[in-house]
């Protein structure tokens, strides 16, 4: 069987307030069928056996759905394969002998926790600001009482597919979280159940997004390309439209008061 030999240049940073640096690791004898994270596992096993601290990176499901993983690989968020999260990237996408630079997501709103792990709590806070429909458990109508046109349901699902990985932020030259926020706004805004809170939702989520220190969107489109779910930047246009409409025609009173949910 053919094996692959990679030369890694990995960002190591012991903690949030400590300076980081790039460290070289040699990774010989890898299988092309290995996933990128399995390659890091192998490197880590070797490091650990030598008593060195393994490279910290986030991961959990390893099947592209939990949104835990995320590395900038040779300058590309989630690596060279389109529509693919880091955990689903396989070494067959690389050449043997290639040098590979591995960096964490970089944004002020995503401080490094350790090595390749960043704190993406800002994304949770954007959802907490209003990315939901305020139902209570119980007391809701039958599921078929409100019909949803298939096209709307499909479009909502396209947006709802977001895994919250933050690659859009990492890939955006402006470090903007617009695609993430807009995907949730589009998902809920396309469902009939999401209409009552639509103006309030967009105002609150955008305000939170700005407060977190993300950059603004200048419609560059790198986010869509990096997104493992290929969510279209059309949702950003939708968010802008909703924001404009909500700013002009209301929603603000409730948003100003806040906290009554």
């Amino acid at each position: 069987m053919t094996t692959i030999h990679l030369k890694l240049l990995v960002w190591r940073q012991p903690g949030p307030h400590v300076a980081g640096r790039f460290v070289r690791y040699d990774a010989p004898d890898l299988s092309p069928d290995m996933s990128f994270l399995e390659m890091l596992d192998v490197v880590n096993e070797r490091l650990t056996a030598q008593g060195e601290e393994p490279i910290a990176f986030d991961h959990d499901c390893r099947e592209g759905i939990c949104g835990s993983c995320g590395l900038v690989i040779n300058g590309v968020a989630h690596g060279p394969m389109r529509g693919t999260a880091t955990c689903q990237l396989h070494l067959r996408s690389f050449r043997s002998g290639q040098e590979i630079v591995v960096e964490p997501w970089r944004a002020k709103a995503f401080p490094v926790v350790r090595d390749l792990i960043v704190d993406r709590g800002a994304l949770d806070r954007i959802i907490t600001a209003g990315g939901y429909i305020s139902t209570r458990t119980g007391g809701v109508p039958d599921a078929n009482a409100v019909l949803v046109p298939k096209d709307d349901a499909d479009a909502a699902m396209d947006a709802a597919a977001c895994i919250g990985c933050g690659a859009c932020v990492a890939a955006c030259p402006n470090a903007s979280a617009s695609l993430f926020a807009a995907a949730k706004i589009a998902h809920l805004g396309l469902m009939p159940q999401g209409q009552p809170e639509r103006p309030k939702r967009v105002l609150r989520m955008v305000t939170q997004m700005d407060m977190e220190g993300f950059g603004n969107c200048t419609n560059i489109g790198e986010c869509e390309e990096a997104c493992p779910k290929l969510i279209s930047i059309d949702v950003i246009a939708r968010m802008n439209r909703d924001f404009l409409r909500a700013s002009m025609f209301g929603g603000e009173e409730r948003a100003e008061v806040g906290g009554e949910a």
Binding site: D58, V113, T137, D154
Partner: protein, 637 residues
């Protein structure tokens, strides 16, 4: 220890209603004086935390991922069952109840399962109200698909991402409560012990995975929704972080563990490709709606699948189980795959695989329809294997997927430790010895949205709880225990990595306590496990310190628990001298190789009690009474 299942009396269909009426209520104004800790933010945990907070309780929720939205539930693909009968194909609450009891091979409680079927319809309503984008017909009505183990179409789905969408619904409900200040979320925080005061569960000890800080949280009740322990096999379809630690430590604090050996092996996973493999990927069972499972008729037939003519193919599921065919339940389909591979008819590297072929379906409904139904699964398959399933059949093989076993709970979902409630995959209830597809999501949400919010009130209203603080000696003791163990793990400084121990344990368990089990094999496992464990505590290496994010330490903690828990699983498997559902004892099979249950001796839940380190756990039996269904040999022929 006494197992009081607290099943309400009266006719099956009225039990839950009557019980709800009979339970004590907490006065709405008093609710905010109670604090409830919810450990876990999967479907069960997130839905429970949100619903309890809506009622007015003060809730703290914990998960080890960086965000509650990443709980393992996110990975569920296929769908969620509900007895809506929207298809008018003869479904009913009773049928869902019956299918689930039968699918579980008659090892679950009738009353719980019936309640689950009743609540299933409310779950769909709830999720739709939250904006979950379920698949729809062109009419705008909800769409359904079929799933294994059922002859009606009752599964609701959102593409191949049902778990994701349901979890995001629950997560958003949780966020809504976080915004209101009624839930405090602790992410990247792992529970490492339970705190008992005067025999009641009063809190947990956690480690902050970023700073390493060990903290105690005290409360009036604790809810564990920490998921399953399938990762004990090292390779499974579970997320890498899924673990037994929370439930195992609760066990050591006195909560009985129910049916630990009941594990589900899922028939449709992508086969192992090398020894670096870190996890196995499930291909949703829904694929079996349109895919046909086959292997070559002859052993050692290495022709490419296209070159094997129909006559030389064995569609073994259709042949052996004509009425359910490719939709036979998971345990049966998995074992059948193992059997044909054991006969040397397996395909792919290592001969551990069978084909799942879509050629007929593509011919019948067209490539576009198939792409619409399974597009993302096909893509996922291609990404991993570099093979195009539109052209060549998929290769699949069974893999560990779900654990029916879990902490024993009564009808109120309370464990044998008063005040400790257990939800979702972490408890043992509802699925018996085998879980049907699309019913774990249903159970997790039933537990979290609709059951615990009511039953926890009964406990709180009926119990007088003294105020305690984190200075309490029990609290200090539990914290000290956690710190001691951490220091010990860090001080061993041996030569083997945690993963190497995990792999060793995993392959032992897969061989001896996996798809087919024997008394001899289990006895051998029970001999080997203590040896591996002893070596672990002498020779493991955990670099770094406990004062920062240390993933090696997290893993070591979890693997140390697996190394103890494995024994309990094997012991349970050894004691259960019958085959039922996912538990297949080779000694107990019919002449044609089907599982042979022994209802006279084993129609009970095995609830194991911890008896101290080194002592044999004590077995308690909760007999299962079947008053509404006829115990029958499960047949899918």
């Amino acid at each position: 220890m006494e197992l009081r299942a607290r099943i309400p009396s009266g006719p099956l269909a009225d039990k839950w209603d009557r019980h709800r009426f009979e339970m004590k209520l907490v006065n709405p104004a008093n609710k905010r004086r109670y604090t409830v800790l919810v450990v876990g933010s999967g479907l069960a945990g997130a839905s429970a935390a949100a619903s309890l907070a809506e009622l007015g309780y003060q809730v703290a929720c914990f998960c080890f991922q960086d965000s509650p939205r990443r709980a393992h539930s996110i990975a569920a693909q296929g769908g969620i069952n509900a007895a809506k009968n929207y298809q008018n194909d003869g479904d009913s609450i009773w049928r869902l109840f019956y299918d689930t009891i039968k699918g579980g091979d008659f090892r679950a409680r009738e009353a719980n399962v019936y309640r689950l079927a009743q609540i299933s319809v409310d779950i769909i309503d709830q999720c739709v109200a939250q904006g979950v984008p379920f698949a729809r017909e062109y009419s705008g009505y909800l769409a359904n698909r079929s799933f294994g183990g059922a002859q009606v179409s009752r599964t609701f789905y959102a593409r191949g991402q049902t778990g994701q969408q349901l979890l995001l619904g629950a997560y958003q409900a949780l966020c809504k409560e976080i915004a209101r200040g009624t839930v405090v979320m602790h992410s990247r925080t792992e529970m490492l012990d339970l705190i008992l005061v005067d025999g009641r569960c009063r809190g947990i000890v956690t480690r902050n995975l970023v700073t390493g800080e060990v903290l105690a949280h005290v409360a009036d009740a604790v809810v564990l929704a920490t998921g399953g322990y399938g990762n004990i096999f090292y390779l499974s379809t579970n997320a890498r972080g899924s673990n037994v630690t929370a439930t195992y430590r609760a066990w050591k604090r006195g909560a009985a563990f129910g049916n630990p050996c009941f594990t589900q092996i899922h028939p449709t996973c992508i086969p192992v490709s090398g020894d670096y493999q870190s996890k196995l990927t499930l291909m949703s069972e829904s694929l079996r709606n349109d895919g046909r499972v086959w292997v070559p008729r002859r052993a050692g037939d290495h022709r490419a699948p296209h070159d094997i003519p129909e006559a030389d193919r064995d569609y073994y599921l259709e042949r052996k189980y004509p009425s359910f065919g490719n939709l036979s339940p998971r345990d049966i389909a998995s074992r059948a795959a193992k059997e044909v591979c054991d006969e040397g008819r397996g395909v792919g590297p290592g001969g551990r695989g069978v084909y799942l072929d879509f050629a007929d379906a593509i011919g019948r409904v067209g490539r576009d329809t198939i792409a619409e139904r399974y597009g993302n699964l096909f893509e996922m398959y291609q990404r991993i294997t570099d093979e195009d399933p539109y052209h060549a059949p998929m290769r699949i093989y069974p893999a560990v997927h779900y654990t029916m076993g879990g902490l024993w709970v009564d009808y109120n979902l309370m464990s044998t430790v008063p005040g400790l409630h257990v939800l979702g995959e972490a408890n043992f209830s509802d699925h018996g010895a085998n879980r049907l597809g699309a019913s774990a999501l249903m159970q997790g949400l039933a537990d979290g949205y609709f059951i615990i919010p009511v039953t926890i009130g009964d406990y709180l209203a009926a119990t007088r709880l003294e105020k305690i603080t984190t200075d309490h000696p029990e609290v200090r003791g539990a914290m000290e225990g956690v710190n001691r163990r951490t220091r010990r793990l860090l001080s061993i400084a041996g030569t083997r990595t945690v993963d190497s121990f995990h792999r060793e344990l995993g392959s032992l368990m897969w061989d001896k306590c996996g798809m087919a089990r024997t008394a001899g094999g289990l006895a051998e496992a029970l001999r080997r496990i203590p040896e591996i464990r002893a070596e672990f505590w002498e020779n493991v290496t955990v670099p770094g310190s406990d004062a920062h994010l240390n993933q090696a330490l997290e893993k070591a903690n979890r693997v140390a628990d697996y190394l103890e828990f494995a024994e309990l699983m094997c012991r349970d498997a050894l004691h259960r001298e019958e085959s039922c559902g996912g538990h297949f004892r080779e000694e107990h099979q019919t002449p044609d190789g089907e599982a042979r249950r022994d209802d006279d001796r084993f129609a009970y839940v095995a609830a194991w009690e911890y008896a101290g380190d080194g002592a044999e756990p004590v077995l308690h039996r909760e007999p299962l009474a079947f008053e509404n269904v006829q115990l029958a040999q499960r047949s899918y022929k």
